[in-house]
Symmetry: C2
Subunit: 142 residues, 2 copies
Amino acid sequence: MTENNNLEKLVGLSKEKGLKLTPQRMVIFRILSECNQHVTVDQVYQKASAEYPMLSPATVYRNMEQMVDAGLLTRLDLGGSSMRYDTNLEEHHHFVCTECGKVSDLYLEDIQYKMDANRSQLGKAKINSLDLHLQGTCGECV
Amino acid sequence: MTENNNLEKLVGLSKEKGLKLTPQRMVIFRILSECNQHVTVDQVYQKASAEYPMLSPATVYRNMEQMVDAGLLTRLDLGGSSMRYDTNLEEHHHFVCTECGKVSDLYLEDIQYKMDANRSQLGKAKINSLDLHLQGTCGECV
DNA sequence: TGAGCAAATGCAAATGATTCTTATCTAGGT
DNA sequence: ACCTAGATAAGAATCATTTGCATTTGCTCA
């Protein structure tokens, strides 16, 4: 169901944005819908190139970035060496386990509100993105 | 005064940690105490190599990392292409202007408290670091 | 004060993520 | 079937950072 959903989105998107429905794009997108969230480009590339061997990493990079621009993915900088991409578009934050690397989602509805209260320190500044990075040891690794 | 303070720290450190008082380390350390916060390794290297031309970048990288280990600096991942190091050891957060790159400090005393309230989502997990990344347009660039 | 050892340095090469280049290819409209 | 804009593959290029190694240098203790 998620997969159909995403496939629909892709098709709709390709019309909207003038993106072509190339086989590479289809493979990449299906991989994304099968993967867990927070994937790296390389993870996608590994899986995708298994079934589409001539695929180049650059193509995956390009496609993921396009999907971000199109609002299908969110780019995540979780502090590791490589960027991650999140298929969960809801406003949320992340907790990264420094032992096993697992990423957990966190929904913190009142952070934004709290920020507003502290906004005075920023003067006329306009906040565009607010990102909470939490690190620690997850339940399984404790 | 800050410089004397830091020099003391450095000497104390070298005893504690078995770090040697090399001229390179002295130069790097003084540069750090003169620089504004949030410097990159390269910024330090540029200034330091001006007065110690044979200095190698690797030495700066190594020294900054050692200072982090020793608790004299904090490593900052502010999302740019290179890491930054913060000489301000107080608990605080950062706002990065996406126009001019300026970094502003933010003191948000109640974030930690708020997090605790949301901790239930994390189960037995242990939070080691909490880092708020804010991006936007600063007062001057608005 | 000088020998010895661990730590520090410089250099260059390795690494790893990402981007760029360029020639080729192809989807989609006509 | 044909054209053309846009997409692709492949690999070179880039950039920040790390590492291996041979050499040097603080620092300690006799």
